[in-house]
């Protein structure tokens, strides 16, 4: 019988000796080159972390490969980052160069530190989820390929954090990212009345709709959707498999930008929609990669040093961002949900 409630493996058993010895005694860090962090402890000990990009969706072969590298250069120790990158923990400076050479030879992606683009936090998409409006891994691959130069260098005005979520549930936490890529549905759910009668508790389904678009239809022992009220969130589909919402011709991607979570300088902020819809165009989603590249290049060309994407836009004003970027503005971009009011320009001061 399995042991219940034993909890996760103890991290203490995972730490390399240098970390155990200098635990909580780190003094400062440097980034000697893109992808390499050097942390120096009070004791003088130095730990090198080599950050390697990961597709996140990996085979056990990949994991075994990195284990082999970690055995060879890191005495068997490595970690992952909160952005799904791999970090090789090198305590022996001598081995650093070798590791970097091996990584380069074997085609690993080294980078993602400092003022760079790191991995994109993302989700399941067409690979495994049931509500996606787009794929996750594919879009990420296309975007990261396109922006690879900014992963392996540190020449941006500041860090750029991207997230992708394949539906409005936003498992990729795109809502506070510098650039958020969000899969969106655009048509109301299609009701399979028979399935509904078999699978669904109608009151729960009705209650699940944030806009009150679903009404019970007692005669039919089913429900009706008021399509004018529906904003395609898919929450009803999460509650009931009889409310299918995918729609190949109309699903696609929205781009939200300018969010952050760190408190450095400015408060954490939500990402804001600047492109309401781009089509799903696999395998390389060119409309998406181009749109993102343009935004990033505009930021590079205009931001002050150290200014995150959203900080730059807030400084110049969103209306100015639209005029600089040439992105079309439309009523789609104006909030009409619960907290809309605070986004309205209740002031006579603005730029033309």
């Amino acid at each position: 019988m399995a042991k219940l409630d034993q909890g996760p493996p103890n991290y203490k058993e995972m730490l390399p000796p240098i970390i155990k010895e200098n635990y909580g005694k780190w003094q400062y860090h440097e980034i000697p080159q893109p992808g390499v962090l050097k942390h120096v402890a009070e004791s003088g000990a130095a730990l090198y972390s080599v950050r390697v990009g990961s597709p996140r969706l990996v085979s056990i072969d990949f994991i075994r490969d990195i284990c082999n590298l970690a055995d060879q250069y890191c005495d068997g120790h490595l970690r992952f980052t909160t952005r799904n990158n791999v970090e090789f923990l090198v305590s022996d400076e001598a081995k650093l160069k070798e590791l970097l050479e091996t990584l380069s030879a074997q085609g690993y992606a080294v980078g993602g530190t400092g003022a760079s683009i790191s991995n994109i936090i993302h989700t399941q998409g067409w690979v495994h989820c049931h509500t996606p409006a787009t794929d996750a891994s594919g879009v990420v691959k296309a975007v990261m390929d396109d922006l690879y130069e900014y992963f392996e260098s540190m020449k941006l005005p500041a860090k750029l954090k991207m997230g992708l979520a394949c539906c409005l549930n936003m498992c990729g936490s795109t809502h506070c990212s510098d650039i958020g890529i969000v899969g969106v549905h655009r048509t109301p759910p299609r009701i399979d009345h028979e399935k509904l009668r078999k699978t669904t508790e109608i009151p729960t389904l009705v209650a699940s709709c944030p806009t009150g678009a679903i009404r019970p239809d007692p005669k039919n022992k089913s429900v009706v959707v008021n399509e004018d009220k529906c904003m395609y969130c898919g929450n009803c589909y999460t509650m009931s498999p009889a409310m299918e919402i995918y729609d190949p011709r109309n699903d696609g991607i929205a781009i939200l930008i300018g969010g952050k979570v760190s408190n450095a300088r400015t408060a954490p902020s939500f990402s804001r929609m600047v492109i309401p819809f781009l089509p799903n165009n696999p395998p390389r989603w060119p409309e998406v990669t181009e749109a993102i590249r343009s935004i990033i290049e505009l930021w590079i060309a205009n931001a002050h040093k150290g200014e995150r994407l959203g900080e730059w836009i807030e400084r110049i004003g969103w209306e100015k961002f639209f005029s600089l970027s040439g992105l079309p503005f439309s009523e789609m971009l104006i909030d009409d949900y619960i907290f809309a009011r605070e986004t309205f320009r209740t002031a006579a001061g603005f730029k033309y």
Binding site: T187, N250, D336, Y337, A340, R345
Partner: protein
């Protein structure tokens, strides 16, 4: 008249600020109702509560508003203020008067009323405070004869209001006085015959200093602005510098967009015009040296109101720039507000102000249905959620089986 004692109120005759109690006593010398009002108020001061009731509808023939009915709660004790209604007289633009006009107001009021007024009410009217039901029509008749009209009350266009504007202010970007006068006259029916879900107010401010408080206090806020660059008189800049005025610290450093630069060597100012938000600060600080641009007009903002019911709302931008030309009779503006009022009238619930309606149904729908183009100036920032209402007709629905059948 005021034989009865008012010890608490008497306290308020002391002090340097002019005393309303003194004014009430002056009125009470010849007005019994004013005298009784003092008694009622003294009692409120003792009891910490008011003694007025609203009641049946009072008014004048042909109008649906302009008079506020008011009754004391103990008519037996205070027979002279048993009925004590307010008559709202529409003020001239900018509250400008000649003494003849003011005296006429006094003379008529002396005949019928309490001799007490508010100059002016918070919306803008001349408030004639306290008269009997039977006198309302004669009061109106006489004022009408003398060239006055009633202001608004009820679910109508309320009395409009404007700042002093070109009458006396160098900052005015359009003719607030004429706009207020002309537009009020255009909407006489809307002002006098309540027919909407609730009240609607317009205030006209000549520039972004907003001396009428339009953005906070009116459903439709017309705030003067310009479209080109602020203008400098560099000689005057030098004069300020000569007087040791801290141009850098008090002006440039406080420019919200940091688009204003002072060259202390040359003692000259320059601006990145496209970054200026026309906030008025630098102009306020250096009125002799900095002026608004040449291409003047107004921003139209919509939705302001105070706290009841859904919280206070400020107006927000719907038309960033509109010419407000006397020559064209303010046609563009009138067309716009007509479209907006019609839409509100059709969609608004009872006692739902314009701002609340827009919040409830969505700014997008409002803009679409009132045929106002969406522009980034309307928002501080775009939406943070992806809950877009897509216009289904614009989509390719050829592959979408909405009846539940498989695609």
């Amino acid at each position: 008249m005021t034989e009865k004692k008012t010890p608490l109120l008497d306290e308020l005759e002391k002090g340097k600020w002019p005393s309303f109690v003194t004014e009430m006593k002056r009125a009470a010398v010849k007005s019994e109702s004013a005298g009784e009002l003092l008694q009622v108020l003294e009692r409120s001061y003792v009891e910490h509560r008011g003694h007025w009731k609203h009641g049946g509808i009072v008014g004048v023939r042909g109008y649906g508003g302009g008079v506020i009915g008011r009754y004391v709660d103990e008519p037996e004790t205070y027979p002279n203020v048993a009925e004590f209604h307010t008559v709202r007289i529409n003020q001239p633009s900018g509250f400008f008067y000649n003494t003849k006009t003011l005296r006429t107001i006094c003379d008529i009021w002396e005949k019928y009323g309490s001799r007490l007024t508010n100059m002016h009410g918070s919306t803008g009217d001349v408030i004639l405070l306290g008269c009997k039901t039977e006198d309302i029509q004669p009061i109106f008749d006489e004022y009408s004869e003398a060239g006055f009209d009633l202001g608004g009350s009820g679910s109508c266009l309320r009395t409009t209001n404007c700042c002093v504007g070109p009458g006396r202010c160098e900052f005015a970007c359009y003719d607030t006085l004429e706009a207020c006068y002309n537009i009020t006259n255009e909407f006489m029916d809307e002002l006098h015959r309540p027919m909407w879900p609730y009240k609607s107010k317009i205030k006209f401010s000549g520039c972004a200093n907003d001396c009428t408080g339009a953005i906070a206090r009116s459903d439709i806020s017309v705030i003067g602005t310009w479209r080109d660059s602020i203008q400098f008189d560099q000689a005057a800049v030098k004069e300020y510098a000569a007087k040791n005025f801290d141009i850098q610290g008090l002006v440039c450093d406080k420019c919200p967009t940091k688009c204003l630069t002072y060259n202390s060597q040359a003692q000259e100012l320059s601006v990145v015009a496209e970054d200026c938000t026309r906030c008025m600060h630098c102009i306020n600080m250096m009125p002799k040296a900095i002026k608004a641009g040449k291409e003047k007009g107004a921003s139209i903002l919509i939705g302001g109101k105070s706290t009841i019911v859904q919280s206070a709302f400020m107006s927000s931008v719907v038309v960033p720039f509109m010419k407000m030309e006397v020559e064209s009779d303010f046609e563009e503006f009138k067309d716009l507000v007509r479209r907006i009022w019609d839409w509100w009238d059709e969609n608004g619930k009872s006692r739902e102000r314009l701002g609340e309606l827009i919040y409830r149904v969505g700014m997008g729908k409002f803009l679409r249905e009132c045929e106002i183009p969406a522009v980034p100036q309307q928002v501080f920032r775009p939406r943070a959620n992806p809950y877009v209402f897509w216009q289904q007709d614009d989509l390719d629905k050829s592959g979408t089986a909405l009846d539940g059948s498989k695609l």
